[in-house]
């Protein structure tokens, strides 16, 4: 029998719906995403750690969830080892999925990972509330089992999603040191496709004395400023000349290491349709994004510059060092889910490593 559930926001508003997935209550930070595809990817994206996600696209579950086949020691169809977000809110949920590649329903997958969901909610009304009031604390309550509100941003979320041991992938010619702050599998896949050997290290690992050709700082959840050790290590790295690429949280860490500041956006960018301009050109790319914090460009030191800018709200979408091979994008060139138009940035990174190696 279908169970009723409630979504309660910190401002007191309540939305009634039906429970799916795990039948338990949960609290987290409420955020919205306007993507129309890719719920298995989103749910397993470590950047959603601690958050309750509402998708504005109303029909969810249509193509089920693919099986957990592994390739290169990574789940082929997921972005990490498990569902990372805390709760999932949708308008219309489909249990009778249909797809050749599916092996279970979304609800069953969420049950497996003990993640509650609620459907039948006016997700547009909810999204407008978040747009106007900003991301806020929320909880899904099933069976009247109330739970207290929590602010996941006060936790060090990165420590919850980062690897605890050093792992190696691939046997390529470029040695990439991957600082894992909650890396998405597709970043690893994108690098592996490009003839690399990846050493994936925990977020607080001191990599400064390691042997590598290029440093990659991954995406991840939460407030970037909480990653004090990582920022210190990156600061050391930017004092040297080895190529560095960052994505999302990695971009913010690079900025903080360089001495710039970051701030929390009202409701963030979570979508597949964010236009970003390559500064100084007529090129505008459609990007996949998932972030709640941004770089304050006014605080960028003079040897850094804005690489990409959001064409809608002019926020910073990427930075680069004026002379050294360091660059980073706030958006996700690895996509998954979302458009793949900026995957060429990985090629740029490889190119930088080649140039660097040619020089030394």
């Amino acid at each position: 029998m279908l169970k009723q559930a409630k979504l309660i926001l910190e401002d007191g508003s309540e939305y009634h719906g039906t429970s799916f997935g795990y039948e338990g209550s949960v609290a987290g930070e409420m955020v919205f995403n306007t993507a129309m595809t890719g719920y298995p990817e989103s749910l397993s994206d470590p950047s959603y750690r601690g958050q309750i996600l509402v998708t504005t696209f109303p029909l969810i579950g249509n193509y089920g969830v693919p099986g957990d086949r592994k390739e290169d020691d990574l789940f082929r169809h997921f972005e990490s080892e498990k569902i990372q977000l805390s709760g999932f809110v949708v308008s219309d949920y489909t249990e009778d999925f249909s797809h050749w590649n599916a092996s279970l329903s979304l609800s069953d997958w969420m049950k497996e990972h003990q993640i509650p969901g609620i459907y039948g909610v006016d997700t547009r009304a909810l999204t407008k509330k978040l747009r106007n009031g900003g991301s806020m604390k929320a909880k899904i309550v099933v069976d009247d089992q109330d739970v207290p509100f929590i602010d996941p941003n006060s936790r060090h979320l990165v420590s919850e999603v980062s690897t605890t041991e050093i792992k190696t992938y691939g046997k390529g010619k470029h040695k990439v040191l991957l600082l894992d702050c909650g890396v998405k599998n597709n970043i690893i896949r994108c690098l592996l496709k490009r003839d690399t050997t990846i050493t994936r290290v925990p977020y607080d690992f001191d990599f400064t004395n390691e042997d590598y050709d290029g440093l990659f700082i991954s995406n991840g959840p939460g407030d970037p400023k909480l990653n004090v050790k990582a920022i210190e290590h990156v600061k050391t790295a930017i004092g040297q000349d080895k190529p560095i690429m960052g994505i999302c949280l990695g971009t913010q860490l690079m900025a903080l290491a360089a001495g710039a500041d970051t701030y929390k956006l009202k409701y963030g960018h979570r979508s597949h349709n964010q236009p970003v301009l390559l500064k100084g050109t007529k090129r505008c790319y459609i990007t996949s994004q998932n972030h709640g914090y941004a770089i304050d460009t006014a605080t960028l030191p003079s040897d850094w510059e804005v690489l990409f800018e959001n064409a809608n709200d002019n926020t910073c979408e990427g930075i680069k060092h004026k002379t050294k091979p360091f660059f980073a994008s706030q958006f996700h060139p690895e996509a998954s889910s979302g458009p793949t138009d900026t995957e060429f940035l990985f090629d740029d990174f490889i190119g930088m490593m080649e140039t660097y190696k040619d020089k030394v």
Binding site: E41, F57, T94, H99, K282, P339, D341
Partner: protein, 1074 residues
């Protein structure tokens, strides 16, 4: 932004036809708007006088001329433009552009093609080059071979193996295409396809694969976006114009979605498209394998749909990109703050359903396939699939109440219906669930994705739940709400729960409505904002849904809203002309200082552009939904008289629900619609009408016919385009048509009236206020009465009416207007024979000819009518049709070539899909231009004549003599040849199709010895009917111009004998008005 274009030529798409309909009025209007914004002078060539784009103030100059290289060159000579837009007038404009390019005309006049380069267009249109190009960038296309002869086609099939698909190159909407399972089928299809095109393609069949489309935009800086993707509910094998389509795609994973998206970007970059382009894919339902089926490097039906589905104005943006703008330089038209360089995020789904009118045609095959037959479409918006599809099935307007609850869809062989799709297949699926079929069983028969099928099964299951309940009180809020969330109408709920007898269900329906409102179950209004609520929308593009708890809008309740009800899906009898009326009513409402509110659901229209009104409800025109919107808007009133018959039919029901209907009172509308009360009124006014009787038994019909004699006209009451209406000349036909007529209207008895032969038919269009006529326009038909007014050729102002006739018509009109106390638009059809005038119909609404007469007279009838209805200030001076110096001729466009096997003959039932209107200094000039505009060509060689009954033989005598004088070689079927040679015309007799062993009429057509066929039906013996049908159909199938009406044939022959292309008057619309 740099461009030095000062004046552009824009090619329209001409008359509406199957495969090329109102969507190009929308895209052309958008392009013109974009040019205007840039201060560029625009010159539009489009003979479609009923469109919004050919209204004053949209283009700087308009030419109502055929879109053919000759006429376009004449306009170029006159106007000296420096740029040309080819992508906004469908295949017609594109083909004309390619011809101009190939002939060197564009180069000769140094004309820059704005947007996508013409070389690109040619590459995408030539299937072999296209496939080669795609292969060169590792993009897969179906295995295919281009051939130019039947033998080569057979060889190609041998290599590829059956089943295969045959396609003709350079045609619209899949004309001449089809599937073949063996050599015999291939031979037939290849011959037909080769008659349309010198090149055909024989391809591997991908039947059963998913069909997915992307709308892609690219600017000159190589920025690319996909604005929308769409998935066909019907798998590959059914033309996308014939498919139910859902946007965005529903069964594709992220990886599939973005794989196809990336390919689309790769393709558009490779071809160098600047502007908009559509890429169609086949996607394997069991892997990520795919094929690119088609690329259209122009605005298309799909792009119009995508614009409406997303709120992203593709045509407008494409036009700007053609001028050299970068995507990010343009603003998002909805938010006005964010950039146009983005991909819309939808927080709803849309469902497009085609509208067919196959019942209107004698002999047409009902099966749908790779060639397009539908005449219109609807788009339904919902927050789940069930809601969207149920809404959509109601919008189609063929008496369906949704997916379930339809009494008039019973199939004897469900399996066959499922496996061989017809226009009714979706209802066969409903019946299959009813019979206990599982999703898997239906999938096996249809190959429709199980996701769609299980959603449909949800609807059936919910229906069964409702049927278990017998009264509204025991329904329960949850089930009640759930039914509404999944798109059930109050009518469906009434039918399943209250289970009333058939017939008028109005009381039960209102009972459900009241119970529902008492429980607080009402729909909410949501905005389409392109960004799924991420940014606020500045426009009011709205829909209603039950999947929601709050309105996006705050209502003022200031009594300032005026709601205009639109015309719904284009269909035979109601198309772009009512869209023009709606758009003009909206601007009239605005001018009077009210808030203009539109309700309509046709994605092919300008009236559903959120820019033309203050609020657009893209939703149903059902009684229920209109009341829902009225509940929210609390309007000053509702205008029901500009959207054709759909809103007209709501007048009385709204009136009974205490809704203020603006203009003529609904009681008067009802009085005019009801034959009995209308006839009684005419009797009172001593106005003559053909004798008629409303009869409900066969005996009574026979008795009445004994009195008035054959032929008689038989029709049901409440008709727009004469569904099941027909002239019956003998007892056999009588039986046949009675069957049809009773099927169409169970509740209404049959009306039989005397049919007057050789009578002139006259249209009266007018606007009145408080019973006084403010302005009128009288036009005459070229054809005698008996050809539906929507198919007839109209001349305005009339050239061959007695002054006395006109004077008496005006007197009758005045009396009727007074009697019905008309305020607003109205139209009458009359017969005149020897000054004897009879009224045959009166509609208290705008008619199909309103845009035509408004434009020829240069006076906007609809705006005046709106003023009258809103009690605005009426101008004191009105123009008079007697002062017009030029003549307008409105000709009809037929789409018989699309309707395989249909008999291309005209009758009292309407068959045309569109129309044009041309203006000229004299009658023959206007006739010839208008007929050339609907696809007739001046013959160069020979004419084949079967002149039918003696009356038409006499009618044609003089014109055949003219043909002979002009040196045409004439051929006639036996009787015709005999009659004409006896009368001194040199003519060669040929055998009828069924006379074996001789050279038959068909051989002549096939060998292209004749390039014009006149075939006047006789309605006599079965043999002759068959023979005539064969001639007509062969002419159509082989694309040889055909006329089936003697009066029209005469008018055409006179025109091209008295005039030549070179002597036709080439002038702007404004020239004719000055």
């Amino acid at each position: 932004m740099t461009h030095n274009i000062k004046k552009v030529l824009v090619l329209g798409s001409g008359a509406l036809k199957i495969g090329e309909a109102g969507e190009f009025d929308y895209s052309g209007s958008q392009a013109l708007k974009a040019m205007k914004e840039e201060g560029i002078k625009t010159v539009l060539i489009n003979p479609n006088i009923a469109t919004v784009q050919t209204s004053k103030g949209i283009a700087d100059e308009i030419y109502f001329l055929p879109i053919t290289p000759y006429f376009v060159e004449q306009v170029i000579l006159k106007e000296k433009p420096d740029g040309i837009l080819l992508a906004f007038g469908g295949q017609t404009a594109l083909n004309c552009g390619i011809e101009l390019f190939n002939a060197g005309t564009l180069k000769k006049y140094n004309l820059k093609v704005l947007g996508t380069p013409i070389e690109t267009i040619i590459k995408t249109e030539d299937r072999e080059i296209f496939a080669q190009e795609l292969r060169s960038i590792d993009v897969k296309t179906p295995k295919s071979m281009a051939v130019g002869s039947i033998d080569d086609a057979l060889n190609a099939a041998g290599t590829l193996g059956f089943p295969i698909i045959v396609r003709a190159a350079f045609t619209l909407g899949g004309q001449g295409s089809g599937f073949c399972n063996n050599m015999d089928e291939l031979r037939v299809l290849a011959e037909n396809a080769l008659s349309y095109s010198s090149q055909i393609l024989v391809e591997e069949s991908l039947k059963g694969w998913k069909e997915v489309e992307y709308e892609v935009v690219r600017d000159a800086y190589d920025n690319c976006i996909t604005v929308c993707n769409m998935e066909n509910f019907d798998p590959l094998g059914i033309h996308t114009g014939e498919s139910i389509v859902i946007a965005p795609s529903q069964t594709l994973t992220n990886s599939e979605y973005h794989k196809l998206r990336s390919l689309a970007l790769k393709i558009i970059r490779h071809f160098g498209v600047v502007g908009e382009c559509n890429v169609q894919y086949a996607l394997d339902p069991n892997s990520e394998d795919y094929r690119v089926i088609e690329v259209n490097a122009r605005l298309s039906r799909s792009s119009a749909l995508a614009s409406k589905a997303t709120g992203y104005p593709l045509a407008f943006v494409a036009a700007k990109l053609g001028l050299g703008y970068a995507l990010q330089d343009l603003k998002n038209a909805v938010t006005k703050t964010t950039t146009a360089c983005f991909e819309p995020a939808l927080d709803y789904v849309v469902c497009k359903i085609p509208r067919w009118d196959l019942n209107k045609f004698e002999g047409v095959t009902k099966e749908i396939g790779s060639s397009m037959k539908s005449v219109g479409e609807v788009m339904a918006i919902g927050r789940n699939f069930e809601e969207a599809i149920q809404k959509g099935l109601r919008m189609i307007g063929q008496g369906m109440h949704g997916f379930v609850g339809n009494k008039n869809s019973k199939f004897e062989d469900v399996d066959k219906e499922l496996a061989n799709p017809t226009d009714m297949r979706i209802f066969a699926i409903a019946q299959a669930f009813e019979k206990g079929y599982t999703v898997n069983q239906i999938h096996d028969l249809t190959a429709i994705d199980k996701w769609f099928l299980s959603k449909l099964e949800n609807i059936s299951k919910l229906k069964w739940e409702l049927q278990k309940v017998n009264e509204l009180n025991s329904l329960g809020t949850d089930l009640f709400r759930k039914s509404k969330v999944y798109g059930f109408s109050d009518f469906q709920i009434a039918r399943f729960v209250l289970k009333p007898e058939d017939g008028n269900m109005e009381p039960e329906l209102l009972q459900v409505r009241n119970a529902r409102k008492k429980l607080g179950i009402t729909p909410v209004v949501k905005q389409i904002d392109t960004l799924a609520a991420e940014y606020p929308a500045q426009t009011n593009y709205l829909y209603l849904t039950y999947s929601g708890s709050e309105n996006d809008l705050v209502y003022e309740n200031d009594n300032k809203s005026v709601i205009v009800l639109g015309s719904g899906a284009y269909r035979i009898g109601s198309s772009v002309e009512f869209d023009w009326c709606s758009v003009n009513a909206l601007s009239g409402v605005k001018k009077e200082g009210y808030r203009s509110v539109m309700i309509n659901y046709n994605p092919e229209t300008v009236s559903t552009d959120y820019d033309v009104c203050d609020r657009l409800y893209f939703d149903e025109l059902s009684f229920e939904r209109v009341l829902d919107i009225i509940d929210l808007e609390q309007p000053k009133g509702v205008i029901v008289s500009v959207g054709g018959q759909i809103p007209n039919n709501l007048a009385m029901r709204l009136h009974h629900s205490d809704v203020k209907v603006l203009g003529t009172s609904p009681e008067s509308i009802d009085r005019a619609e009801n034959r009995k009360t209308f006839s009684a009124m005419l009797d009172d006014l001593r106005v003559d009408q053909p004798r008629w009787a409303e009869l409900s038994s066969i005996e009574a019909i026979h008795t009445f016919i004994d009195e008035v004699n054959f032929p008689v006209l038989i029709r049901p009451s409440y008709v727009l385009s004469g569904a099941a209406m027909n002239v019956v000349s003998n007892k056999n036909e009588l039986e046949h048509f009675l069957n049809l007529a009773t099927q169409v209207s169970k509740q209404y008895p049959v009306v039989v009236s005397e049919f007057i032969q050789e009578a002139k038919e006259i249209e009266f269009d007018g606007v009145a206020k408080d019973g006084e006529i403010l302005i009128d326009a009288i036009s005459e038909h070229v054809e005698f009465a008996g050809v539906h007014s929507g198919d007839a050729t109209l001349v305005f102002p009339p050239q061959k009416l007695y002054f006395e006739t006109i004077r008496r018509i005006r007197k009758i009109a005045r009396e009727i207007a007074k009697s019905l106390n008309i305020t607003g638009p109205f139209n009458m059809q009359l017969l005149a024979k020897d000054n004897d005038i009879k009224v045959i119909e009166c509609n208290l609404r705008a008619s199909r000819s309103f845009p035509f007469v408004s434009k020829v007279m240069d006076f906007n009838f609809v705006e005046l009518a709106t003023k009258a209805m809103l009690n605005g200030t009426i101008p004191s001076q009105m123009p008079s049709m007697f002062e017009l110096e030029n003549i307008g001729v409105k000709a009809s466009q037929f789409s018989f070539s699309r309707l395989s096997k249909a008999d291309p003959v005209l009758g009292v039932d309407m068959a045309s899909t569109g129309e044009v209107g041309c203006i000229g200094p004299d009658y023959y000039d206007a006739i010839l231009k208008s007929m050339l505009s609907v696809g007739y060509r001046i013959p160069k060689k020979g004419v084949l004549i079967s002149s039918g009954p003696i009356r038409s033989k006499i009618e044609l005598l003089k014109s055949t003599q003219m043909l002979q004088k002009k040196g045409y070689k004439l051929y006639g079927t036996r009787g015709t040849a005999k009659f004409l040679s006896e009368n001194g015309v040199e003519i060669e007799g040929v055998a009828w199709p069924d006379e074996k062993g001789e050279i038959t009429a068909l051989d002549l057509i096939r060998s292209k010895e004749v390039d014009f066929v006149i075939n006047i039906p006789k309605n006599l013996s079965e043999d002759e009917l068959f023979n005539d049908y064969q001639i007509r159909r062969t002419a159509i199938d082989l694309n040889v111009p055909l006329v089936t009406n003697a009066r029209l044939a005469s008018a055409f022959i006179y025109s091209f004998c008295k005039k030549s292309l070179e002597t036709l008057d080439i002038n702007t619309y404004s020239h004719y008005l000055s």
